[in-house]
Symmetry: C2
Subunit: 205 residues, 2 copies
C-alpha cells in the first residue's frame, strides 16, 4: 500500500509545479517538458499518471485552484453578520498577499479565464463553475446583510455581487504592473465609498 502513497505524492508534486509554471507563463506557453525538467522526471512518468495536458490541468483546477479560492475568497464570507465588513476584510486580506508577493501575476482564476476564453470549452466550464460558486456565496452573504439590517433592502444582491467580482478581477490585473500598494489603497477606499451607498440609510441620524 506504499505504492499508492508514492503515486499520490508524485502526482501532487507535478500539479503544484504545473500550476506554478502555468500561472507564471501561461498554459499554452508552458510545455510539459518545462514542468518535468523542474522536477527531474520523465515524459513517461507524466503520461503514466495523466491522460493528457488538458486532463492534467483539469486536475489542477479541482485540487488546487478551486480550494485556494474557496479558502481565501469564499469561506471567510460565512463569518459575521455584517457582510460589508466581512467582504471588506476579505478583499483586504486577499489584496494584501498580492501586494507582498514578489512574483504576482494577477488573479489566478482571472488569468486562466482570460487565457481559455473561446479556446477550450471544457476547461472554461470548470473555471466558470468556480466563478459561479463565488457569485452564489457573495449573493448569499449580501442577502444576509440585508436580513440583518446592514444593507438597504432595495439593493439588488446579484448586482452587488457582479459589481464586486468585476472590481476584484480588474484590480488584480491592474495591481500587477505599477505601484500595487498604492492602487490597493485607492481601490479599498473607493470600495468603502460604494458600500456606503448601499448601506441601510439611517435617515439623517
Amino acid at each position: 500500500m506504499d505504492k499508492n502513497l508514492k503515486r499520490m505524492a508524485t502526482m501532487h508534486r507535478m500539479q503544484v509545479t504545473g500550476l506554478d509554471l502555468f500561472y507564471r507563463n501561461g498554459y499554452y506557453n508552458t510545455s510539459i517538458d518545462d514542468i518535468l525538467k523542474e522536477l527531474s522526471l520523465s515524459k513517461g512518468a507524466f503520461y503514466h499518471h495523466f491522460d493528457s495536458k488538458e486532463d492534467f490541468f483539469t486536475e489542477i483546477i479541482q485540487n488546487l485552484i478551486m480550494r485556494k479560492i474557496y479558502t481565501v475568497l469564499i469561506e471567510p464570507l460565512e463569518g459575521q453578520d455584517n457582510s460589508l465588513d466581512m467582504i471588506t476584510s476579505c478583499f483586504d486580506n486577499a489584496l494584501e498577499t498580492a501586494v507582498h508577493n514578489e512574483l504576482d501575476y494577477g488573479f489566478v482564476l482571472g488569468n486562466f479565464i482570460n487565457e481559455f476564453n473561446g479556446r477550450n470549452a471544457v476547461i472554461m466550464k470548470h473555471l466558470n463553475d468556480i466563478l459561479k460558486l463565488w457569485e452564489v456565496h457573495l449573493v448569499t452573504a449580501i442577502q444576509r446583510g440585508k436580513h440583518n439590517g446592514y444593507i438597504d433592502r432595495h439593493v439588488e444582491s446579484e448586482g452587488v455581487a457582479v459589481f464586486l467580482m468585476s472590481a476584484y478581477l480588474g484590480i488584480r490585473t491592474i495591481m500587477v504592473q505599477s505601484s500595487p500598494a498604492n492602487r490597493k489603497y485607492r481601490f479599498m477606499s473607493q470600495m468603502r465609498m460604494y458600500f456606503k451607498s448601499i448601506q441601510t440609510k439611517q435617515a439623517a441620524v
Copy 2:
C-alpha cells in the same frame, strides 16, 4: 509612388487580420502562418514588411489598439461638464457593443495585459502606456467634475479612476461567458449607486 500605397495597404491588411486572430486565439497561440493563410500571403511577404512577430505586434498596438481605445474610452470623456454622466454613457456604449458582438472575447487591452504579464517586458510597456493614458484622462475628467460642482470635492480623483478602470476590466472579463446583457445591466446599476456616493452632497435638500 504607387508602390508605397501597395506597401501600406498590405501592411494594414496584415495588421487587421493579425489583431483579429491574436484577440481570438491569443498571441502565443496564433502563428504567423495562421495569419498568412487567412490572407493568402507568404512568409516572405511578412518578413519583408516586419522584423519579427514582436515588432509586428508592436505596430498593431500603436496603430489599432491604441486608436480604438482612444476613440471609444478616452475621447468621449472630453465632452460635457458633468463627468459622471459622461463616464456613465461612455461605459454604457462600450459595454453595449460588447453585448451585441457575437465574437466577444473580452476587453482587448485587458486580455493582452493578462497574456503578456511577466512574459514580455517590451510589449507590457506599450500596453501599460495605454492604460496610463486612460487613467490620466479619467482623472482629468473627474477633476473637471469636481470643479464644475458635480463631484464632491473631498473625493480622491485618482482613487475613482483606479476603481473605474478595475471595474471595467473586470466586467468585460465576466461578461464574456454568461448572460452579458444581464450582467451589463446589473453592473451599470451598481456603478450608478457608486456614483451617488461620490456626487456633491446636496445637504438634505
